[in-house]
Amino acid sequence: MNTIKFDNVYVVGSAITGGPVEKEGPLRDYFDKTYDDLYCESKTFEQAEQKLLKDSIDLVFKKTGLRDKDIDIMFGGDLLNQITSSTYVSRDYKIPLIGTYGACSSSMLTLGLASSYVNAGYANKALAFTSSHNATAERQYRYPTEYGVQKPDTTTYTATGAGAIIVSNIISDIKVTSATIGEVVDYEVNDANNMGVAMAPAAYDTLKKHFKDMNRDPSYYDLILTGDLSTYGKRIILELFKKDNIELNNYDDCGLIIYDRQKQHVFAGGSGCACCALTTYGYILDKMRKKELKKVLIVATGALLSPTLIQQKETIPCIAHAVSLEVLE
């Protein structure tokens, strides 16, 4: 059983921050704060990512009227080595921290864990947060930002931003109904410029397990959303389900929602921890509050690669974690 069903976990509030490209994208109206350049008024890109993350946490506190002492535990994760964005930002809060690493699946991993803590009664209120930054991710996983190399069309664009969400056992309009923790899946893709394709089988695996565990059909949900599979990964999900004789017409990917691929130079779409977090904690939750969407399943996908292992000709193990949200009638 990969799925935990929750009885009493509700969304208290969320906040998202973004960078210059995200600000120009289709989700521009959903941000709580944005910056005009990648430095975000900081000296280095790493500090910029921390600033985005700290802003998102401070803003979720401001929006919900809560403070450090109201939160029993927090879960955080990001893409950088030693998850430094999460840990360095956590210095400023007197809240117990569990740092996690799930690459770009961090958003649903941390939300799922925070919800599990609340559901089990270990916490009354829990905070989940994640961040990513285009320049810090490029630097760690790919090339220097200004390096002139021709990227293939399958490349994705790491989103710059951060998202924070608070869940509690006090009833609100949006309920966290379940979390499906994924298994590591490796279908032997070794192209680090094609991570949407590499991650698609992991998303498919987690989705299948979720439907089986919950005894549900994909049509139960108004929207099924994957984290950052982008153009090519999305096609594969649709094909994989088609082979099972299931036509997914309620499916989309955050990487295609967060940017306008016609107008913005983001290759196959968005990626990174922030891609799923910004789309879900900003846009999707807003749609749910307006009751335009009532049942949503979000599957955040993560490619668990390191540049060292890719250079050693290893393949890319991937993971996907799902969380379902429902509007209370």
Partner: protein, 151 residues
């Protein structure tokens, strides 16, 4: 195994055709353009300013390196390179950009641990194998001349 094969078939089915011809053509045109600019600059130094041949070549290279470095610093070179491909990568502009971008990137870690040790992170390979192949070719040339002389 069956699943993995099935997945590979789906990947093949869903991927877009790569526009290799288009990219090659673009590289040919843009790379040729860089060469024309280089030739014009060389002619300017050699014919207009009457500088000798080898100095004019060096000055032309310095000019291309300077322009590349400036464009990299202004954040324009990577955008150009996405369009030009091998057209900007193969001329000395590619090498200059590799150095400048690495230096810019590591600026935040200071002069020693940052710029100093990271500047050649990408371009290091070019230097290493440039020296190795020069060494090997030098040996071949030496013996070829010996044999040629004996004949």
């Amino acid at each position: 195994m069956n699943n993995k094969q099935r997945f590979k078939d789906i990947v093949k089915k869903t991927e877009d055709k790569k526009d290799k011809l288009g990219r090659a053509l673009m590289a040919f045109i843009s790379g040729g353009l860089v060469a024309i600019i280089g030739q014009a600059v060389y002619d300017f130094f050699h014919l207009a300013l009457d500088i000798n041949e080898s100095d004019s070549i060096s000055l032309m290279l310095v000019f291309i390196i300077f322009v590349t470095t400036l464009l990299t610093g202004l954040g324009l070179f990577d955008k150009l390179a996405q369009k030009m491909g091998a057209g900007s990568f193969i001329p000395i502009s590619g090498f200059a950009n590799a150095l400048t971008s690495s230096a810019l990137e590591s600026k935040s870690e200071g002069l020693i641990y940052g710029i100093g040790s990271n500047m050649f992170k990408l371009a290091g390979s070019v230097i290493t194998y440039g020296i190795v192949s020069a060494y090997i070719l030098g040996i071949i040339r030496y013996f070829a001349l010996l044999i040629g002389g004996a004949l």
